[in-house]
């Protein structure tokens, strides 16, 4: 048996080697920084420079080094095509790293918006659909309302339409009430509700302000109707914010400008209850086509504040959008973890705001980057146990 000689392993490098390595590391870092630009710029750093042109997207030219020093400049990463705003058609097959990169060409909270994204364009629409009665009998019904969020003195109109074989029929309401939901103690108190018939539609109006609630509440509306051959129950919920529980209001004061290649609209907010806020808005271009949505996600102190609505430059460039832009569906809520409900709604902004004119070329087409994104890329690069959608090619999942 031949004994194999063990190669000599140097556990600790010499001090000279370390010094050389450190110098090389510093040089490479500096070169990377200059060739890629400030990564925080692409993430939308918050230095407002009103109406100044965006920095050029291309990195500045670097003078070629002289002498015999080896060039260590990293190659720029290949461009990644983002996932379509409306989703990937068919079955996705990207490996987790590729999928993450494609999902993060834009920031998580500032992304493209198309006219088909009704959840964002009509944030207070309801989603009930026509149902068949439990016992069948050719009976279908739709129990719904005109909104989901009700604020202060607003009212909610609940409607019930019952059909037999597709034709509206008259029914007898055997129960109709609403109740403030109590997910902890379950002490709901039914409040009778009266429905009136309007051309085959049963309708009832609820004015929650009369309940004198102190804070955000979920309210359930319940009906039981007799259609002749049987009875059917149905219920819907809605969210109510009493005037006393409104956490903040939009002031209607706005300021728009360019910030590191992105459009930023500073929305004035009068904060009553400090804390973490989620504020959403949509952006329409000069032809009133939706081009982007954004979300402010941060803490606001009490008093007059500003929520920065960042519309990422590349989103606007990729949409070939130009202004003046119009802000739409501005709404928000205070997040109150530990309470139920935990989202206290702000009254949506019902006015209009139009920005100054902007050309598409005013915005940066740089891809989003951040330390968090780079950390995720590192982690996913080093983990190969999970293949996600890419596993379709090897696993026996079908």
């Amino acid at each position: 048996m031949t004994r194999r000689s063990t190669p000599r392993v140097v556990a600790w490098p010499g001090a000279r080697s370390i010094a050389i390595a450190l110098v090389a590391l510093v040089a490479a870092t500096a070169l990377w920084w200059h060739t890629t630009g400030d990564p925080l710029e692409a993430a939308g750093a918050r230095n407002l420079v009103a109406a100044t042109p965006a920095l050029p997207a291309a990195p500045p030219a670097i003078a070629a080094p002289t002498g015999s020093v080896a060039r260590v400049a990293p190659l720029p990463p290949p461009a990644v095509t983002p996932y379509p705003a409306g989703g990937v058609p068919g079955i996705a097959t990207d490996d987790p790293l590729t999928a993450y990169k494609k999902a993060n060409v834009y920031p998580p909270t500032s992304r493209p918006l198309t006219e088909n994204q009704l959840d964002l364009l009509q944030p207070n629409r309801r989603h009930e659909t026509v149902r068949e009665a439990d016992q069948g009998d050719g009976i279908t019904y739709l129990f719904t309302a005109d909104r989901y969020f009700v604020i202060a003195d607003e009212t909610l109109t609940a409607t019930l339409v019952v059909r037999r074989d597709g034709k509206p029929i008259a029914v007898t309401l055997t129960q109709a009430f609403f109740a403030v939901l109590d997910p902890v103690a379950h002490r709901e108190q039914p409040i009778p509700l009266t429905f009136d018939s309007h051309g085959g539609i049963l309708a009832a109006t609820i004015a929650p302000a009369r309940l004198a609630l102190a804070r955000q509440s979920a309210i359930g509306v319940y009906v039981e109707f007799d259609y002749g051959d049987g009875k059917q129950r149905a219920h819907i919920d809605f969210q109510y914010t009493p005037a006393a529980g409104i956490p903040a209001r939009f002031t209607g004061v706005f300021l728009d400008g360019l910030e590191s290649g992105s459009l930023v609209i500073h929305a004035g907010v009068d904060v009553i209850a400090p804390g973490p806020y989620l504020i959403d808005a949509n952006l329409y271009d000069t032809t009133e086509q939706p081009v982007a949505w954004t979300r402010f996600k941060g803490d606001l102190a009490a008093g007059p504040q500003s929520a920065d609505l960042v519309f990422f430059g590349k989103v606007l460039v990729d949409a070939a959008a130009h202004g003046p832009f119009h802000l739409g569906q501005l709404r928000g809520a205070r997040f109150a973890p530990g309470r139920d409900p935990d989202l206290e709604q702000m009254p949506p902004f019902t006015g209009t705001f139009t920005t100054r004119p902007y050309a598409t070329t005013d915005f940066s087409d740089a891809e989003y980057d951040s330390p968090e994104k780079q950390r995720m890329i590192d982690l996913l690069t080093n983990d190969r146990n999970h293949r996600g959608a890419d596993g379709a090619s090897t696993s026996s999942h079908r």
Partner: protein, 241 residues
């Protein structure tokens, strides 16, 4: 002193991921308090049965989900999150509401109730799910209006859906399009409206970063069959239908 300097330099050279743990978080469905006894397992990783109480309140479940992610998915750790049924809604809501830097490779969702179920609020709910307060408040308007489903922290959600018969119930007459007896493919496929779908590959608007994985639908699998299917598909379990 010299040795201490060398140690410090050496530690700087160690990548953050060298000591990283990978955690596979499992989140159960409506009326559950955890995923159950069967988890997926991947070599060298730790499977977590997330203690999420989905009996009373989405707010409670969301806070517990965030606490779980805080425990396992920060620093140099990496998580993969496997959600079933209403667990998909809990995870989506947690990502949308919180503003924390969790390291999540992806969310893998089986039969997700992210878009709410049309049977929420009917007598069927208790029979299918075992009965609990929250089961009556996971309807389509509750979930679709409840949070911005497009804010996923940039995390991809892979989805699979079934179209099997959940005997002896008749929910398929209530749910639009194809369904697994408890949730429609409009919900399980991450679509932005409740319009009935005949598969989760159908071209229609979906929430950002939501996508179909592995199959356009599992025609013979019902809601209960779907629970472990994603774990099998992703290599963490064997023996699924």
């Amino acid at each position: 002193m010299h040795k201490h300097l060398l140690v410090a330099i050496a530690s700087l050279a160690i990548p953050m991921t060298a000591s990283a743990g990978v955690f596979d978080i499992h989140v159960g469905g409506i009326c559950s308090t955890n995923f159950g006894d069967t988890l997926g397992h991947w070599p060298g990783e730790t499977s977590i049965n997330a203690p999420i109480d989905q009996r009373d309140s989405m707010a409670t479940a969301t806070a517990q989900m965030a606490a779980t992610l805080d425990t396992y998915c920060t620093g140099g750790n990496l998580c993969y999150v496997y959600v079933y049924s209403n667990g998909g809604a809990v995870m989506s809501r947690t990502l949308a509401l919180f503003n924390r830097s969790w390291n999540i490779g992806y969310v893998a969702a089986s039969a997700s109730n992210e878009g709410g179920s049309e049977i929420g609020g009917t007598g069927f709910v208790g029979e299918v799910f075992g009965g609990c307060t929250l089961a009556g408040h996971i309807g389509t308007s509750d979930h679709r209006n409840g949070w911005n489903h497009n804010d996923t922290h940039g995390i991809v959600t892979g989805m699979i859906a079934g179209n099997g018969w959940l005997a002896p119930f008749l929910q398929s007459a209530i749910l639009p399009g194809h369904d697994d007896g408890a949730v429609s493919e409009a919900s399980a496929g991450g679509y932005t409206t409740t319009t009935g779908r005949s598969s989760i590959c159908e071209a229609a608007p979906k929430y950002a970063n939501h996508q179909a994985w592995f199959s356009c639908e599992y025609g013979s699998l019902n809601h209960l069959d779907m629970k472990l299917k994603m774990l099998c598909n992703d290599g963490g379990l064997t023996g699924c239908k």
